[in-house]
């Protein structure tokens, strides 16, 4: 017999238990107080205990309950997307919004199975200029548009 019958339920439970334990550990240093004079640690501790208890119950259901679909992770698109945003953050202050937006759009496009590099490049350039026009020039966001060494 399988040990974990419904991996979705089982791992979801574990995740919440982990969050609960983390909250309890961090909140350890916060004064609890009493019910009539609650300290900053009172309510977080209740929530942390609830998360651990109910999360454990959820995991138990995942082991004993009805069988579910196996879990399938597709990390590649997610990581490409998140990496493109991370690069955007790092590049904006260094090379300006237009270049950073182009990089974001180009790399994010690569997450799709229908990636076409020429199309993505053009889309990135257009969106970079549009974003600078709309967000910086029209709405006044404090972001550099051009690389600083261009004198922009």
């Amino acid at each position: 017999m399988q040990l974990i019958r419904n991996p979705r339920d089982f791992y979801a439970g574990l995740l919440f238990v982990a969050f609960g334990i983390a909250a309890l550990v961090i909140a350890q240093s916060y004064p609890v107080g009493t019910a009539s004079r609650m300290g900053p640690g009172y309510f977080p501790r209740i929530l942390g205990i609830l998360l651990v208890a109910l999360g454990a119950l959820q995991s138990l259901i995942g082991m004993r309950g009805r069988a579910g679909f196996p879990l399938q992770w597709h990390w590649r698109p997610l990581f490409i997307l998140l990496a493109s945003v991370a690069l955007f953050i790092l590049l904006t202050s260094w090379l300006g919004l237009i270049v950073a937006a182009l990089v974001l759009v180009f790399i994010a496009s690569a997450a799709s199975a229908e990636f076409r590099w020429r199309e993505a490049l053009i889309a990135g350039a257009v969106q970079g200029v549009a974003a600078a026009t709309l967000f910086v020039y029209a709405l006044g966001l404090p972001l550099p548009v051009w690389p600083p060494f261009f004198g922009g």
Partner: protein
């Protein structure tokens, strides 16, 4: 009549050029994202929230509300023409609406959907105007204990009506409450869960969190499905409906409006649930239920009216009690707080122009939507031919800049990345993100009221059960929880959501 005075005050505010312009912008943006599958009102409103900082609060809310109900209009267009719901609330419209389109009656279906929604919007505006003031008056008598119990009831009913597993929704809500604790504790001034980051002193960036959970994670999940929507409808012949169709659909639209008005007030209810309930009702009432699923016009008129009525009525608990009933309303509360307006019953007395202006603008907005939708339908349909591979990088870029603009800080964009990662895991594990957002918004309020109630009762927990209104609400919450755990109800609830 006070009712008409109030509505007139509201109308005078809603039709000022600036407010009219932003209502129009909201409706256009709402229709746009409603038509496009893969981006919903939650992510859009979060994205545009920072842009509204410079506006008057009422103008900002008018625009954001326009996005919300505009999306439900746009969503039905996609449902009818492409056999794909643009929004959750139009899932049910796909069944009969697309069948009608296949039989060459797309025009009639679109017309009924738009007019039914307009009818529902008009009635809902009247109902809000009539019932919101007494509700707010009642709420003014509430003390901390009542507020605490009301919030518990709100959270429990949001859980009851969420999709998927009840226990997971409970866990997501609790985690949301905990995330709401991040930042400075108002009573002791102590920084909680901030990891010594100055950016977290005011709490986790609300916009950034929503972006990560609702936009980044959604895109990642969408990219896993290889086949995108490819079917584009044929030309639309006539937008007019026949007399016979009118006679069939008018009573259905009225019934749908009634259903939406009643269910919309429930926390967690709103548009989607109303549409489902209305469809079930129409099927039960029909002389020949077998027509449903094969292009019955009542199956479009009823749910489309219901989802619009439900969407609008769900503003009532938010505006009168300060309690959001769904993720969009949670964002609205966020918008109010950003504009330094404390959500709750005092909104109506302290800032009547905001309250009535928003209500009246909904009616104005519905009229704009009818004008916008019927003649311009061809334009919206063209939008559907933009492939997703072009669209999602654009959404990602707008969200990244949007997350930055909330506090003009790149830290928030990192937060969005973090929540994008977490959100993907949640979606994969079958955990809906909406309850987390509700918990996050209600967390600080819940803690504050619990604390105040217990200070007044000197630490005696029975205070929640000795005060009658509070006890009633807690018992209702308990009853709901028991109902959900009972096996027969659980099976029924699952089949209802299975149909989507």
């Amino acid at each position: 009549m006070e009712l008409f005075d109030n509505l007139l005050l509201g109308l005078s505010i809603a039709v000022t050029p600036v407010n009219l312009l932003y209502a129009f912008v909201g409706c256009v943006v709402g229709t746009l994202i409603g038509v496009l599958p893969g981006i919903g009102p939650v992510a859009t409103i979060a994205m545009l929230l920072p842009i509204t900082y410079g506006l008057e609060p009422v103008t900002a809310l008018i625009m954001l509300a326009g996005i919300y109900y505009g999306a439900s209009y746009g969503g039905s267009t996609t449902a009818i023409l492409v056999n794909l719901p643009g929004e959750m609330s139009s899932v049910i419209t796909v069944l009969d609406g697309h069948q009608m389109a296949r039989q060459g009656r797309a025009g009639a279906a679109l017309c009924v959907a738009a007019l039914g929604s307009f009818l529902a919007g008009t009635v809902a505006t009247m109902v809000i105007a009539a019932f919101a003031p007494p509700l707010a008056e009642l709420a003014l008598k509430f003390d901390a204990a009542e507020y605490f119990s009301l919030m518990v009831l709100g959270l429990v009913s949001a859980i009851a009506l969420a999709h998927g597993s009840v226990l997971k929704a409970v866990l997501m809500t609790i985690l949301g409450l905990l995330l709401g604790m991040v930042g400075t504790d108002v009573n002791s001034g102590m920084a909680r869960f901030t990891f010594d980051r100055p950016e977290l002193i005011d709490g986790i960036g609300f916009v950034a969190m929503t972006m990560g959970l609702f936009a980044f994670a959604e895109i990642a999940v969408n990219l896993e499905r290889t086949a995108g929507p490819g079917v584009i409808a044929d030309r639309i012949s006539s937008l007019w409906i026949t007399w016979k169709e009118f006679k069939q659909s008018f009573p259905a639209a009225l019934r749908g409006t009634a259903v939406g008005t009643m269910l919309g007030i429930l926390p967690g209810g709103g548009a989607t649930l109303s549409a489902f309930a209305s469809y079930t009702l129409e099927k039960k009432l029909a002389k020949d239920p077998s027509r449903f699923g094969r292009g019955a016009i009542e199956g479009v008129a009823g749910p489309e009216s219901a989802n619009n009525a439900g969407a609008q009525i769900s503003f009532v608990p938010m505006l009168t009690l300060g309690i959001p009933s769904n993720a969009v309303m949670a964002l609205m509360v966020g918008a109010l707080i950003i504009h330094d307006i404390q959500p709750g019953p005092q909104i109506m007395t302290k800032t009547p122009e905001l309250f009535w202006g928003l209500i009246a603008s909904m009616w104005v907005g519905n009229a704009i939507l009818v004008i916008l939708n019927l003649p311009l339908i061809g334009l919206w349909v063209k939008l559907l031919s933009v492939p997703y591979r072009i669209l999602y990088p654009l959404i990602l870029l707008c969200c990244s800049i949007g997350a930055f603009s909330a506090n003009n800080n790149m830290f928030d964009v990192w937060v969005a990345i973090g929540f994008g990662f977490l959100g993907y895991i949640f979606l994969k594990l079958g955990c809906e993100p909406a309850p987390l957002l509700l918990g996050y918004i209600l967390g600080p309020m819940l803690e504050e009221n619990l604390r105040r109630a217990l200070v007044l009762s000197r630490g005696d927990y029975t205070v929640f059960f000795t005060r009658p209104i509070s006890a009633t609400m807690l018992l209702m919450a308990l009853g709901l929880l028991i109902l959900m755990i009972m096996p027969t109800i659980r099976a029924k609830r699952e089949t209802v959501f299975q149909e989507s």
